[in-house]
Subunit: 309 residues, 2 copies
Amino acid sequence: MCRAPGVAIPAVDEPFLQQLIANGLLVPTGVAGLFGKRGDFEAIVSGIDRMVERAGADQRAESYRFPPVIARTLLERSEYLGAFPNLIGSVHSFSGDDVAHATLLHAVEQGSDWTGAFEPTQVVLTPAACYPVYGMMSGTLPTGGRTVDVMSFCFRHEPSMDPARMQAFRMHEFVRLGSADACVAFRDGWLERGTELLTSIGLTPSVAPANDPFFGRRGRLLSKTQREQSLKFEILVPITSNEHPTAVASSNWHQDHFGELFGISQANGTVAHTACVGFGLERVTLALLKTHGLTIQAWPASVRQALAL
Amino acid sequence: MCRAPGVAIPAVDEPFLQQLIANGLLVPTGVAGLFGKRGDFEAIVSGIDRMVERAGADQRAESYRFPPVIARTLLERSEYLGAFPNLIGSVHSFSGDDVAHATLLHAVEQGSDWTGAFEPTQVVLTPAACYPVYGMMSGTLPTGGRTVDVMSFCFRHEPSMDPARMQAFRMHEFVRLGSADACVAFRDGWLERGTELLTSIGLTPSVAPANDPFFGRRGRLLSKTQREQSLKFEILVPITSNEHPTAVASSNWHQDHFGELFGISQANGTVAHTACVGFGLERVTLALLKTHGLTIQAWPASVRQALAL
């Protein structure tokens, strides 16, 4: 069963990605947007992760960590299937007998699709770090609401040779649940705080209104509404292009969208609003490597100190 | 689209799991074997992770971190499909148009299977932390071989109410690639070192020969051979049962299995042998909570110190 890969290995023609691979910081896997990371890349990721956590220390957030898969029912309830069906990773598994197994192995030998006997499991890959939070918050919030700190691997099926668009990546988020006023203040406060944080490590961030990449015809309308209502903002930093900087963080007010879907109420009985801010840990890492160079020992001392490198 | 979960939430009748959920250390997700973890549970996981890393510091391992999904071609090449087809999580995605999307959403509304238009992607969930290492090692090793330190989320489709049998869990592994002698010495050395490590944090480990849970008729033969050749050993600690302790670590010599499959040669040109030792981070955490109690502040000072708690 030792066989050549059935899928062509993508050509790496993005110059920054070429450098990262040549240096060994990223390890190619044969799949676009999927990489191993060397220990020093991971040390930067960890440094940013802790820095983001420290930046939110005054918010006394409750800390939770969720796995890279969530319940299929949570995805269904979240309306993600309506908004981003193309990005989902649905997990399927085999429950056949010896005969079905022989058929599977024959398909593998032939280099053809071997998932014929696979069925959807109860889980899907985590699309965003904050989704499990809405699932666990069904019910009534205490007075003043709640603030939650989460970090997890997320998956989005969008194979790309842009190193800043990985299929599997980590997102550190703070989620605010409470009144509309509290959520707007949270979103706006984090845009400012996030900008300061990124500036403190030598990056040059800019803030811009944004919309999610909603799917299809209906999606174009959703994107327009999101922009018109100024719900989502991104903090951008140049990574692979100076003209088209990459969003390394975003801060969103969802109004009562998730409160409604997950039955989350404020202490006064009205539907809860939610907001979240998320930092893309690989993206901030890449922005630092782009800005300060691939030799971490040569980075400004203040940056290395902030990230405990 | 706000609908009740289509799948029954499993009853929690395992007493230790009931305690962990009542305490808030584990957050149920409605899926057996899938949990959120509160910050203090995660602090223990991190403490064990660093402790394992320190225990291997003298091995001067190269450190890499891989995402929770791997290339489908890597799985095919590894023979995992022959050995454990029932445990695999195959990732499928949607690439339809607006019409297919409407069909999908209708299925979601009806509570029926909505994955009809989903196709296998280039990735599957990571079955064991060490698999990506074999993929990146194709070629010739330097004299003396290589040693690699990896940690990642792994997935195994085996829904269970035993808290020590999660579907998504983290494994910290050291992988040795080189001569047969080096691999056997590595495996045996780590059994001793792992036992000392677990004893140092107040656990009472025992070592036993073991076999992997190979699938089907052919699997029974593979299991027998593995035991007869004394290739795999587990370090066990009581978690949910004193009579049937749980494997919290295992140490395996694969002989030239992976060297052959992935074309890995020793410097002298012969096929490389491999061995790995893996610590289940959630399992060691659960063993500590079972042994020392759910109030971490009341744990022995030496244990808290070792884990930086």
